[in-house]
Amino acid sequence: MFRLWSTRKGGDQGGVWFLAVLAVVAIAVPVLNRLVPASSAAHVSAFGITLIGKYLCYGMLALAVDLIWGYCGILSLGHAAFFSLGGYAMGMYLMRQIGPRGVYGNPILPDFMVFLNYKSLPWFWYGFNHFPFALVMVVLAPGFLALVFGWFAFRSRVTGVYFSIITQALTYALMLAFFRNNMGFGGNNGFTDFKDILGFDLHSDSTHLVLLVVTAAALAASYMACRAIVDSRAGRVIRAIRDAESRTRFLGYPVESYKLWLFVFSAVIAGIAGALYVPQIGIINPSEFSPINSIEAVIWVAVGGRGTLYGAVAGAVLVNYAKTYLTGAFPEIWLYALGALFVLVTLFLPRGIIGLVSGQSKERPDPKPVE
């Protein structure tokens, strides 16, 4: 269907490997957690499950960034915002699920609202006690923001660095807004202290295992969807836009529509990633919006190799594994390492690790645009 199993040139061998590894993770982690005794070195602890789940969510975010940056050349520094919006939508559902079990015991109002003297539930919280509604909002909130923002930006032909700068400003504005206590989103504490999801206890390992498998499945599905898009005819137009936007426009393609829908789709994937992230991590607060998160996501993609999709996921997992390890073992070193990674990858590895592995490290993914 997506030429997935083809071995011809252009077939997605990397993708097959990627999906296979993902399947192995989804099967092996529960097995290693349940069946291997805690004393064994191969045992995956509860902490390990959360960690791997987190990496997979980041992988999905990287996938979203790669779709728009690697294939369409649009460097969005707003994906942390889409990720967080999805996370907040899920967080609102989880907050409503707490019900009367909060510290203040109010059956309707979440704790922070009682604390901040809210008399009744703000209108935008209605419906979030229903899981399907929350799921719709997980898609709609980032999707709608991306649609409106992208529609304005692409229509005005805001491109390149200008687009990066205003998406960054957007993220920053949202961060400041969510930090405000009277926005109705918990201010700088955000949402935390969740109890359960769909009736399953969020503190139990088995819930986390299920969430991990769901995340892996969502990642696989997003990957296949992205692959389908970039391999389709539309995908070729999108690449043409990346390499020579004006020419594509002169050939009669509605460049703005292509960009807009790709941007919205990418934002939705980021939102879903955020929604999966929140129940596993157990907290969402406004610092998730901070512009540095968007830039970090971009570097995951750059490290893995842009324009490959699976490379982005690999980059996200690798960089975050390094982050977990280094911030634990050598906290001083981490920022040096990350900084050096930014510099070295942009200078020496334009195709990332995937490029290094496949021996094409020198060729840049986007030759200087021809106009």
């Binding site: 032909r157 205003i166 504005a173 405000r180 990350l338 106009e371």
Partner: protein, 548 residues
């Protein structure tokens, strides 16, 4: 490149000479002053008044301080050697001593070892008159001005007489006006309706909060519903005067808001000028710009540590030092990283972001993650009081001035010097510039160094406004990029107008929306503005514009 540091240094040298305070010569009347002062110890209350009178006639520079201290019962003598001291606060133990001659700190002593030189009511009112009289005849207009204000708080018959006498000989218009206000306040309590109306007419010209409140009392109703003031004419005149005063006060407070906005805008402009060069002229998205500013701020800190005795001059030394440090860091960055990335602005964004992380962490490792305090020199603290409703803090004033100076210096460098010509030539048409024999690589490094150096200079200014810490740069970087994009990339004037208007709009919104919401409004407004004019207020023109 050569021109700027030298030009800048000369300018700062001039600033330095201007900032050095004059040294007062010590008078030689110390001995007679001290002996008169000594008589206070054993004199009776009635004699003390005449001794105080004689003290004031010595004309010694510390008379006022001594008499004020006496009035406030802060004059003590040491039981062991009978030496007289002023103490900082009467109820402290140990007492902090001040030498009455030099007015410098003279150590401390336990309360037991010191005896107060007592006063009584009669003596205090005599002293008050003496101090007021003495201050009113001071050659320094500012002292006279303060004395009149002090007297206006509690007007009694002798004070009014004193003020009348002074008004006849006073030459300074500001002091004259203040005396007239004080006399009018006194006349308001009189009984003659004509002179009261005249007093209101005089008070109308004041913008002081005290005067306004005093007049507002005349309009008030008492709890039983009748007017406090029975004379209807006076009441109406007072109501009109309050309205006038309020109008002027509003005008001045709007002016103040505008000025605060300008000073906030100046900071943005100062940051954005450097970006306008690296981003506008070279097309490099320098995410480490904020960290170069941070380097400038830390340079200020280091310079202050190196010359602890000369805080006033340290800022002036820090400006060229910060320019050099940040500029050198910039040149290093350009040679090591950025020169390989020209024409790929998105990748410069990533690489320089990496550099910014490294710079942050290295500062954190060398100076610790805690904030460092940079001392504000005396000539930058305090405020310039224009009238009762309007005062402008010196640090804001200097930052506005400094921004204007830096802005025009840069403009001068770009438009009138050889290196400026090279920079413009390379940014407009690189191959052609190369063909004309310009060493484009060298020009690139110098341009980037120039932009970075200005970031360092902005850091010096910021060190006077906010905490100096490793995160200093991050908080400004998004704003400053917006300023550059808003103004029009590559256009210095655009950055100036963009930054100033952003600052002013932010400050105008703040009272209504609060600081955070005002900021959000400004960000959203800018995002929308860029949709309407993607190339900013003053878009780059010509063929070169199309490549960017």
């Amino acid at each position: 490149m050569k021109h700027l540091p030298w030009g800048a240094q000369w300018l700062f040298l001039l600033l330095a000479l201007w900032g050095v305070p004059p040294v007062h010569a010590q008078s030689s009347k110390d001995a007679s002053f001290l002996s008169t002062l000594g008589e206070l110890r054993e004199a009776s209350y009635s004699d003390k008044a005449s001794i105080a009178e004689r003290l004031s006639q010595t004309g010694h520079p510390s008379v006022r301080a001594v008499l004020t201290a006496f009035l406030e019962q802060r004059l003590y003598f040491r039981s062991s050697d009978n030496k007289i001291f002023i103490v900082k606060a009467a109820d402290a133990d140990p007492l902090n001593l001040i030498d009455p001659l030099t007015l410098k700190d003279a150590g401390s002593a336990t309360a037991d070892s010191m005896a107060q030189i007592g006063t009584n009511n009669a003596l205090r009112s005599a002293l008050r008159a003496t101090v007021a009289h003495f201050s009113l005849s001071s050659p320094d207009a500012a002292v006279r001005f303060d004395a009149v204000r002090e007297m206006a708080r509690s007007l009694d018959e002798p004070a009014v007489t004193l003020l009348r006498q002074r008004l006849a000989v006073e030459t300074n218009s500001g002091v004259k006006k203040e005396i007239a206000t004080a006399l009018a306040l006194a006349a308001l309590d009189g009984s003659d309706p004509r002179s009261r109306l005249e007093a209101i007419a005089t008070l109308k010209q004041s913008v002081s909060q005290d005067v306004r409140n005093r007049l507002a009392l005349l309009v008030d109703k008492s709890p039983d519903g009748s007017f406090v003031e029975s004379d209807q004419q006076v009441r109406q005149a007072a109501a009109a005067a309050v309205k006038t005063i309020d109008r002027w006060r509003n005008f001045y407070s709007a002016f103040q808001t505008l000025f605060f906005g300008l000073s906030l805008g100046s900071v943005l402009v100062l940051i954005a000028i450097g970006l306008a060069i690296t981003f506008g002229v070279m097309g490099v998205i320098n995410m480490a710009h904020g960290e170069l500013m941070m380097l400038g701020a830390y340079t200020t800190y280091a310079v202050q540590q190196a010359m602890p005795g000369h805080i006033g001059a340290s800022i002036l030394v820090a400006i060229p030092a910060a320019f050099c440090v940040a500029g050198a860091a910039g040149v290093l960055m350009e040679r090591a990283v950025i020169q390989f990335l020209y024409g790929r602005p998105l990748e410069t964004l990533l690489a320089t972001f990496g550099v910014s992380l490294i710079l942050q962490q290295s500062v954190r490792s060398t100076f610790s993650a805690l904030n460092r305090s940079v001392v504000t020199p005396d000539w930058m603290s305090g405020s310039l009081r224009l009238n009762d409703a309007l005062s402008i803090t010196y640090n804001r004033l200097y930052i506005v001035l400094f921004t204007v100076i830096v802005f025009f210096l840069i403009l001068l460098v770009l438009k009138r010097t050889r290196i400026g010509l090279y920079i413009r030539a390379v940014s407009q048409n690189r191959p052609m510039a190369k063909a004309m024999g310009i060493r484009t690589e060298w020009v690139d490094a110098m341009t980037f160094g120039l932009g970075s150096g200005i970031a360092g200079v902005a850091g010096v200014a910021l060190s006077q406004l906010t905490n100096v810490g490793p995160d200093l740069g991050q908080s400004y970087i998004i704003d400053s990029f917006l300023v550059v994009v808003f103004g029009g990339v590559g256009n210095l004037w655009g950055s100036l107008i963009g930054g100033m208007s952003m600052g002013i709009v932010n400050n105008l919104l703040e009272p209504y929306a609060g600081a955070v919401l005002a900021k959000i409004f400004v960000l959203v407004a800018l995002i929308l503005f860029i949709q309407v004019r993607p190339r900013g207020l003053f878009p780059p023109k010509g063929r070169a514009a199309e490549d960017k």
